[in-house]
Amino acid sequence: MIARLQWGVYDTWTITRRDLITWVINPVRVVGELVFPIMFVLLFGYVFGSGMVVPGGGDYRDFLMPGIFAMTMAFGIGNTMTVVATDIERGVMDRFRSLPMAPSAIVAGRCSADMVNSFLGLLITIACGLVVGWSWHDGLLNALFAVLLLLLLRFACLWIGIYLGLIVGSPEAAGAIWGLLFPFTMVTSAFVAPELMPDWLGFLAEWNPLSSTVGAARELFGNVGAETGSSWIASNAVLMAAVWPLVITAIFLPLSVRRYQRLSR
């Protein structure tokens, strides 16, 4: 039993390592991870930013960065889904399944690889933010707490990604599904305060799980725009930034496990 557990850990590490190696063998990947945040910072911070209104006043980029952090985490759905779908289509998943490795390590390895990748990606984005003048104003401890909540969101997205990746089974289909999901990741409080949107859209944006994390990050980083709006959901952002990801995980983790087991039906 202990031996099994040890092999499980060793196998998980092997699968994780498979992904982390790409940072070493392909340093361009750092550039790839930079593209999205830089694009959003440039586009929203500088192009649209001049016309943006921050409720309560304040610097728009200070308002924007927590939104971009959360977006980066949400984009993880697309990454995870694509990798899982590619492994299935290329037969790599079948090869893993035909090896005498711990079956749970296939998913556990994916999970830890994506978490480490996202953590590195988040660090890069934070560095980006510091460059354009964003910073945290409420102590390092709160800032670390904010990072933790962001990673918790990524953890939830991971299970959505694994589940969808197992369903679609090809990178092309994964791309198409991501195209459908993408707008959903945009209807949030990340770029514009929901109270400035039409009522129905603002409602959707406020209840979008992403917005809770965005709100919590603003609050904990001490950035402007925290607690925009007076609704219950907006004023309980930190609580909901923990609740939403846990609920999502509670739904999609078992779904993913079931779906994975169905590969052998």
Partner: protein, 323 residues
């Protein structure tokens, strides 16, 4: 000599589709068994069940002495699998791929690296060892994929269409590797659309149609079932074909098959030498000049046609399926 693969009455359905309908197999250790059958016959399904990737609905199977259903892990420690895809991580180099799979076979990191180097050498990939697999040619990727299924010198190797889409040179290379493994005692279950591949590699062949074995035996035994020898007559002019066909048919006592494109009439001959004489005399009587007359063993294509009532897949359609 024991049996490396035993399958009894395997059944598997997908919704309304019956993929396996009571499949039986018995493959002796150290031999190559070829699974032959038209598209959708159930070959891949059979391989996936035996390689523990798919649960069967009912039936019993052991691979290398381990029960597929009750002890899949033990089976996995003893098998290698090459599916219809090149199942390697394209971002990683050949060496890193093999190292990863070695570690997943629970070799120590050092042992995994050593084994990776050995395999790269053996499969002629040493020079490309550090290049990412996505930059490999199709043949190189296929060899890398094969190398990955040889990590632990498997007792039983499953090859699902190992050479589909490969050029003749690559195909020969793959065949050589398979032969050398078999020489070392590995048992191979091979599915293929290429009859010459089965002819080249297989000690025994099971022809599968609609999820069950409809014939099995050595390639020679199967060919003998078509009626021993075949007589081919190639005529000089296409206009002579029908006359020649009736003459040949009369001489052999059957309806011959006619291939207009190459102006050829073919008929099975039960008494080959007597039939050959009769054919030559018959052609002379009707005044047809033959360009070529030959007596030969039947091909597996003819076996296939007779057993399933359908010709084997042509190369192009087989590749389309794989694509």
């Amino acid at each position: 000599m024991g049996l490396a693969i035993v399958a009894e009455d395997l059944r598997k359905r997908y919704g309304d589709t019956v993929a396996l309908d009571g499949l039986d197999l018995a493959v002796p250790e150290g031999t190559v068994c070829g699974l032959l059958g038209p598209n959708g016959a159930g070959k891949t399904t059979a391989v996936r069940v035996l390689a523990t990737l798919l649960r069967m609905d009912s039936g019993r199977a052991t691979v290398a002495g381990c029960d597929v259903t009750s002890d899949p892990r033990a089976v996995r420690a003893k098998i290698g699998l090459t599916s219809q895809h090149d199942a390697v991580d394209e971002a990683l180099s050949g060496r890193r791929n093999l190292e990863m799979f070695g570690r997943l076979h629970h070799l120590s990191p050092a042992a995994a690296r050593r084994r990776a180097d050995e395999l790269l050498e053996r499969f002629g990939l040493s020079e490309a060892a550090t290049r990412p697999a996505k930059k490999y040619s199709g043949g190189m990727r296929r060899r890398l994929d094969l190398a990955a299924s040889f990590i632990r010198a498997p007792r039983v190797l499953f090859l699902d269409e190992p050479t589909t889409g490969q050029d003749p040179r690559n195909r020969n290379e793959v065949w050589d590797v398979v032969r050398s493994l078999v020489a070392e005692g590995t048992t191979v279950l091979l599915t293929t659309h290429y009859l010459d591949e089965a002819d080249q590699l297989a000690d025994s062949i099971s022809v599968i149609d609609r999820g069950r074995v409809i014939a099995s035996g050595t390639p020679a035994e199967l060919k003998a079932r078509v009626g021993g020898s075949q007589i081919d007559v190639v005529v000089a002019a296409e206009s002579d074909l029908s006359v020649a066909a009736s003459a040949v048919g009369f001489a052999c006592g059957c309806t011959p098959s006619v291939d207009t494109a190459v102006r050829r009439v073919t008929a099975p001959a039960v008494e080959p030498v007597a039939a050959l004489g009769a054919v030559l005399r018959g052609l002379e009587d009707v005044g047809v000049t033959a360009e070529d007359v030959a007596l030969r063993r039947p091909t597996l294509d003819e076996v296939f046609l007779q057993l399933t009532g359908r010709p084997a897949e042509s190369e192009t359609s087989a590749e389309e399926v794989a694509a």
